[in-house]
């Protein structure tokens, strides 16, 4: 039975938003074994310790986040609710360390099963056969009747933001290889829909707020690339948040609706010069650089009004502006320590010069995988970062803490405390984004509909019953 006394929703500052990031990892067993070993088998061994701890391969952790095996045997990590971008980035990076932390145990179990090999986990979006998997962004927005019209205003921004926040990749075609802004762009098939694997939209419109549905919707953006550099994540989520804030304040968006979004996202992805034009719905054409600049200018024009000036906002706008400038002037050095595509472009270019090879050389494909490998010792990205070649946003201490502790300012705080207390007490429990329950006849399900609420007497009472002083 569900506990009846649900507290009323908190009054929330309109600038405050709940963010979440979901990452599907690529799972790769490098093995000399001759018999085929399926990704499902590898995932099973990888998640053995998770199942032992949580009796399931689909668990919520003490940091409030969710860890599970998704469609296609992809390990997936969904961050807990964060209400600041720095908390979000720390949680996201914590997730990489948590999945990487499963690798040694997984390899050991494979060895016991007679399979020698090395497990690699990639935070990327495509495998060698061209299959794609995603990185999903969640932004809690205030519910409104015209949600689809509202969401459609974001599409020109989402189609073109890859010139700053794309992961960058080598695209191989029968005509040869070239460097593109986004590996995900070629896998998008619709602007908006409620499907995900069958027909991938940029915005998933399934109405699943994981919150009070009278007040909120979850803007579920699934067009983004998985990114490695912390400043890229800050810009990806931060610029989208700023545009959403204007949209929620009913500011008129730049009249840049696209005629053919699927064509546009591909044309933008494959043009590193930023000069390719896309067709506008109302006639005429514009480049991705022009469209991004229009959104940036609009955000700037509301600074000090709808958008309060903070150090973080200034940092986002500065990086956004330099990213656009880097493409416009083809001076990638402007962002080569901050934006994924530029970091990757630089190292691929340098390695190619050394090898004197073509861009479709398999050694460069190998370099790309190494870049996305989340291993702190073996992953190329983390070696670049530890050499000081990539700028940081959050500290290692904050990431370390986020591996076990939820943000204290959102509902995740309640979930994290509950998971920790119930598992330490050795009790069976069920938990999801909005429910907590200790298994037992007398216990009630606690419904947590308000993601901004981090304190709740019902949870306090439940926890003290679990750990009598």
């Amino acid at each position: 039975m569900i506990s009846a006394e649900v507290p009323p929703p908190l009054e929330v500052d309109p600038a405050r938003r709940i963010f979440g990031l979901e990452t599907e990892f690529g799972l790769h067993l490098d093995t000399p074994a001759t018999r085929p070993i399926t990704p499902e088998e590898v995932a099973g061994h990888l998640f053995h310790s998770v199942v032992q701890w949580g009796r399931s391969s689909n668990v919520f952790l003490t940091n409030g986040s969710r860890l599970y095996i998704d469609v296609g045997a992809h390990p997936e990590y969904a961050t807990a609710e964060a209400d600041t971008l720095t908390d979000l980035i720390a949680l996201d990076k914590a997730g990489e360390r948590i999945v990487q932390g499963l690798v040694a145990g997984g390899e050991e179990r494979l060895r016991a099963a007679g399979i020698e090999g090395t497990i690699h986990l990639y935070k990327n979006n495509t495998d060698s056969a061209g299959n794609s998997y995603g990185c999903h962004e969640n932004y809690l927005v205030r519910r409104r009747a015209d949600y689809k019209t509202f969401a459609a205003d974001l599409l020109p921004f989402l189609v073109t933001r890859q010139i700053v926040t794309g992961a960058g990749c080598i695209t191989r075609t029968p005509q040869g290889a070239h460097f593109s802004f986004s590996p995900r762009a070629d896998h998008m098939w619709e602007g908006m829909s409620s499907a995900t694997t069958r027909s991938r939209p940029m915005i998933n419109t399934r109405d699943e707020p994981h919150a009070n549905a009278e007040l909120y919707r979850r803007m579920h953006v699934i067009v983004g690339d998985s990114t490695m550099a912390e400043p890229t994540a800050l810009l990806k989520m931060g610029s989208t948040d700023l545009v959403l804030r204007l949209m929620e304040a009913r500011v008129q968006m730049p009249g840049l609706a696209l005629a053919r979004e699927m064509q546009a996202i591909r044309d933008v992805a494959h043009d590193l010069t930023g000069t390719a034009t896309v067709e506008l719905a109302e006639g005429g054409r514009a480049t991705a650089v022009e469209i991004q600049q229009a959104y940036l200018d609009l955000v700037r024009s509301h600074l000090g009004g709808i958008i309060a000036v903070t150090e973080e906002v200034e940092q986002i706008l500065d990086l956004w502006s330099r990213g656009i400038e880097a493409v416009r002037t083809r001076n990638f050095a402007l962002v080569e320590t901050e934006l994924d595509w530029a970091i990757k472009h630089k190292i691929i270019t340098r390695y190619r010069q050394r090898l004197e090879c073509r861009l479709d050389d398999p050694r460069l494909a190998r370099l790309e995988l190494a870049f996305h490998d989340v291993s702190p010792e073996h992953g190329l990205f983390y070696r670049l970062q530890s050499q000081g070649l990539v700028r940081r946003i959050v500290s290692d201490e904050a990431i370390e803490k986020a591996m076990t502790t939820a943000p204290t300012t959102t509902r995740a705080h309640l979930r994290g405390r509950f998971v920790k207390a119930a598992s330490e007490a050795g009790r069976d429990y069920t938990v999801d984004w909005v429910h907590l329950k200790v298994t037992g006849e007398e216990s009630r399900t606690i419904l947590l509909k308000d993601p901004f609420r981090s304190e709740d007497e019902r949870v306090d009472d439940l926890l003290s019953s679990l750990n009598p002083a």
């Binding site: 469609v71 296609g72 794609s132 150090e311 390695y351 000081g388």
Partner: protein, 60 residues
């Protein structure tokens, strides 16, 4: 809004230690080349086979 100021403070504290100043182009060139020297041998071993063996079903 207390949450924001708390976060801002910790952010400020972290910044000086964690964020190295952008390296001068020459220095970063050297560091990048040194890194490529280190990993080059490893990347060249069976690169094609390694890459081809990474196949998974699509996800969402």
């Amino acid at each position: 809004m207390p949450q924001q100021s708390v976060n801002q403070d910790s952010y400020d504290d972290d910044l000086p230690e964690e964020v190295p100043p952008p390296a001068a182009p020459a220095a970063s060139t050297d560091a990048l080349d040194a890194l490529l020297d280190e990993i080059d041998g490893n990347l060249q071993v069976n690169a094609e086979q390694f890459v081809r063996s990474f196949v998974q079903k699509g996800g969402q």
